[in-house]
């Protein structure tokens, strides 16, 4: 503390009377508090970054999963060719022969952000490869999210709640799952944008300032550019406005905040080509427009009431205006919906309101594992103590209702509903849970520590130091319960214990469950040492180095992005899944007999077929386990593919008792070619499939139209070359 006199000579010189000479060497209470807060925030910032680095330390700095490879490829293109080329890019290397208008069908926020960071680093002579920037973008933005969470918590409650919120969200597994280092996906940036937009909007409502409202419009623009989940914002904010209007808590500040954000935000959002005119044409965005018009009418009536100062006249005016407004509104809405101008809710979002819709109507949406409803275990896994702190926080919010707390309550409740419908949306609920729980933690700890500090005798209080006179005044007031101080200390220790368990749980979850790159698999060998399966990259690099540059590769759509990014070859279908018929064609080819599939492959100019097979290693996310989805999607468009043909008594089998169509379809042949001679496990017959746990039914497979080109060292990826058609004579 003695460095103060050297570090800050100015206060000593300019205002010597405010610091008595004894206290000149100590920080004041305010400065101490600021120091504690800033250092806590700095530690939280670093923590949020560091906890996401497990996979970089264990494996290497690489991009994980499937979707991030597309983002990486587009970012690479952006840094090499500039923004104008990127914005107008038509890619002929995917969805052969259709191609894909990449410039108009992606959300550019993530790529532009990474390219910008890359350019800034190069400007300062840090010659970093774009891949490193991409890998570390998500942890960097997670750290920024903790800062925004701090300010948001401060806005809702106080700075203590802000600090707790920042700490909770830094390690919350629900957020970590989609923002580890290497997970270069839209959500990493989008959650930052979401929280920033909400914070700026709440700040605008609290202050009524046009400047904050403009800032929230920019935050909304960033969110729209980053992720399709912006629909949540454009529906939650109008819902919030509606709730405030209905409960009578509206004010002029609300009008200023919502209108500026809506108009400027909507205009900015329409600059993104992928979003286009949806803000005025799509049913999902109509709530915002409806509330906009409602606000105009509402506040106009309010103004008229104010200047008229006469109830009876105002009532007649009210009647006229209301009938006009309601007729016009209902008429416009019905004409728009009936004529099809206002498009109904798209399947992706409609399945959130009606979870059974996708299973019956759109098998592609139903097949994605992230779109399944959430199990209880996922909630506990991703939220831990936040699950019971959330209701406690809701109680505190209701005790001290203000515009900001109402917003957080609504955000929490709606996001919890959606998190229950779809696993992927736990991510959106995570910031809300952290914010509301932080209120509970902060308020409880404050109450308990004020009880502990109640006695004025000893200055050894826990928590921030208070001046002696205040503590003495409090002590005389609440001497009500005996052992009050001991009980408070015990409860404080209990709270500390809970928070420690939370930190331990989060670190364990991150380390065990959310840090695997998915493209590199690891297992424990016999001696306990770690065995790494790098088969995917082996296969993609084989493709890159051993096939002609214009070769077309057919595989299931999961691997499309990785093949184009790493193998640098044209694919037939990829993860964008925008064309269901094309995917169904591939599905039909995979589930037909070899000669029928050969016709389809010739029509698509396919040169190589790639399948993923886990029978040798026990890797269970292989194509045989996904096969039924291929059948369903193919059968959805081509009725000749019928799912019961591949099942025996409704059961999916690959052993001797399997359906004959199953034993002879292309996927079966390609996966199990030459597998019949292979012994996979000690004591089991050759051809024992370790994933399905059975000996396969058709061991003697002969391929007539394809030949095996490459099988990786652990048989996980198998590539086959399509033979050219035979000569006629």
């Amino acid at each position: 503390m003695g460095a103060t006199s050297v570090a800050s000579p100015a206060p000593l010189n300019s205002a010597p009377s405010s610091f008595p000479s004894l206290k000149a060497l100590k920080f004041t209470t305010k400065q101490q508090e600021l120091l504690i807060r800033v250092s806590a925030l700095a530690l939280i910032y670093v923590l949020a970054f560091v906890v996401r680095l497990f996979s970089v330390l264990r494996y290497e700095s690489m991009i994980h999963e499937f979707d991030p490879y597309f983002n990486y490829r587009t970012t690479l293109f952006l840094t090499k060719n500039g923004f104008s080329e990127f914005w107008n890019w038509f890619d002929s290397e995917s969805w052969y022969p259709l191609g894909r208008i990449i410039g108009g069908t992606l959300y550019p926020g993530l790529m532009v952000t990474a390219a910008l960071i890359h350019r800034i680093l190069h400007f300062f002579s840090f010659a970093v490869h774009i891949r490193e920037v991409c890998v570390l973008t998500a942890p960097f933005f997670a750290s920024n999210t903790t800062l925004v969470a701090y300010f948001f918590g401060k806005e809702i409650w106080d700075s203590g709640a802000g600090l707790v919120a920042a700490a909770l969200i830094a390690i919350c597994p629900g957020y970590i799952s989609r923002s580890v280092a290497g997970s270069y996906d839209n959500e990493g940036v989008a959650i930052f944008a979401l929280l920033l937009t909400f914070y700026l909007f709440v700040k605008a409502v609290n202050t009524g300032s046009l400047a904050w409202s403009l800032a929230s419009a920019f935050g909304y623009f960033y969110m729209v550019s980053a992720w399709g989940g912006y629909v949540f914002i454009i529906n939650l904010v109008p819902l919030y406005v509606l709730v405030l209007l209905v409960t009578g808590r509206y004010s002029m500040r609300l009008y200023v905040a919502y209108n500026c954000m809506y108009v400027v935000g909507m205009l900015l959002a329409m600059q993104i080509r992928f979003v286009g005119f949806q803000h005025v044409q799509s049913g999902e965005h109509m709530a915002a427009m409806g509330v906009f018009f409602l606000l105009q009418v509402f506040y106009f009536l309010d103004w008229v009431k104010y200047i008229l100062n006469d109830i009876k006249l105002f009532h007649s005016f009210l009647r006229i205006t209301l009938t006009c407004a309601i007729t016009v509104g209902v008429l416009a809405l019905s004409i728009g919906t009936a004529s099809g101008y206002i498009s109904p809710w798209t399947g992706r979002f409609y399945s959130l309101l009606d979870p059974t819709y996708a299973k019956d109507h759109i098998p592609i949406i139903a097949s994605v594992s992230e779109h399944q409803p959430t199990a209880w275990s996922s909630f506990m896994f991703d939220f831990h103590i936040l699950l019971f702190l959330f209701p406690a926080g809701l109680y505190f919010c209701f005790k001290r209702l203000s515009d900001a707390t109402i917003f957080v309550v609504m955000y929490g409740l709606t996001s919890m509903y959606f998190a229950g419908v779809m696993v992927r949306l736990i991510l959106v609920a995570a910031p809300a849970m952290c914010l509301v729980s932080s209120i509970a933690v902060s308020a409880t700890v404050k109450n308990l520590s004020s009880l502990v500090r109640a006695k004025s005798k000893s200055p050894q209080g826990s928590g921030k130091p208070l001046s002696g006179s205040k503590a003495a005044a409090k002590a005389s007031a609440d001497q009500s319960l005996p052992f009050q101080k001991n009980g408070a200390i015990a409860l404080l220790l209990g709270a500390l214990y809970l928070l420690c368990r939370y930190a331990i749980h989060c670190t364990w979850v991150t380390s065990e469950a959310y840090s695997s790159p998915s493209i590199v698999l690891a297992a424990r060998g016999h001696g306990g040492g770690r065995v790494i399966f790098d088969d995917y990259r082996e296969a993609y690099y084989w493709l890159r180095q051993n096939t002609p540059p214009d070769a077309k590769v057919m595989s299931w759509w999961d691997y499309g992005y990785q093949i184009t990014a790493m193998g640098n070859r044209t694919v037939i279908v990829d993860n964008n899944t925008w064309n269901n018929t094309h995917i169904a064609t591939v599905g039909r080819a995979m589930s037909s007999y070899e000669h029928e599939a050969y016709e389809i492959m010739l029509s698509l100019d396919v040169n190589y077929v790639l399948v993923v097979f886990g029978g040798v290693t026990g890797y269970s996310s292989d194509d045989i386990n996904k096969f039924l989805w291929m059948v369903r999607i193919g059968g959805g468009v081509f009725p000749v593919i019928k799912e019961p043909d591949y099942l025996v008594n409704g059961e999916f089998r690959v052993d001797k008792g399997a359906a004959p169509k199953m034993l002879n379809c292309l996927m079966y042949k390609l996966c199990y070619y030459r597998f019949g001679e292979m012994t996979t496990e000690y004591g089991k017959p050759p051809g024992y499939d370790r994933v399905r746990g059975v000996e396969i039914g058709n061991k003697d497979i002969k391929l007539e139209y394809l030949e095996e080109a490459f099988t990786t060292s652990n048989w996980i990826v198998r590539i086959y070359k399509v033979k050219p058609p035979k000569n006629r004579w």
Partner: protein, 114 residues
């Protein structure tokens, strides 16, 4: 009905009387709002006649009118001395915010015009 028209006349008269009491600066802002909304209506009528082909141009035109009208109303709210919530806000700050938001609005409009 005579009573109905009488009511309407009374309504219009008292509205006119109450409105005459507002300060001139607010009346200027109101005039600007009316002008902007009228321009928007003219654009909609034009679109109804010739069709909406470059839809982005139509949208940017209409939204610039609606946007600037809405921002002017926000300015009016902030500058109006009868609003207790904004009594600490200096009118210069309110006007500066208004100018800034209009600037951003029109920059976006010019990008969107096509």
């Amino acid at each position: 009905m005579a009573k109905g028209t009488n009511d309407a006349q009374l309504l219009v008269q008292s509205l006119r009387k109450a409105y005459a009491a507002t300060p001139t600066s607010l009346k200027i802002i109101d005039l600007y709002v009316v002008y902007a909304v009228a321009t928007a209506l003219i654009q909609v009528a034009y679109m109804a006649m010739v069709g909406s082909f470059p839809f982005n141009s139509f949208l940017s035109g209409v939204l610039s009118c609606v946007g600037t009208a809405v921002l002017a109303v926000c300015l009016r709210i902030q500058v109006n001395k009868d609003n207790k919530e904004f009594k600490d806000l200096p009118p210069e700050r309110a006007f500066a915010d208004f100018v800034l938001c209009n600037l951003v609005l029109h920059l976006v409009i010019m990008n969107f015009l096509g």
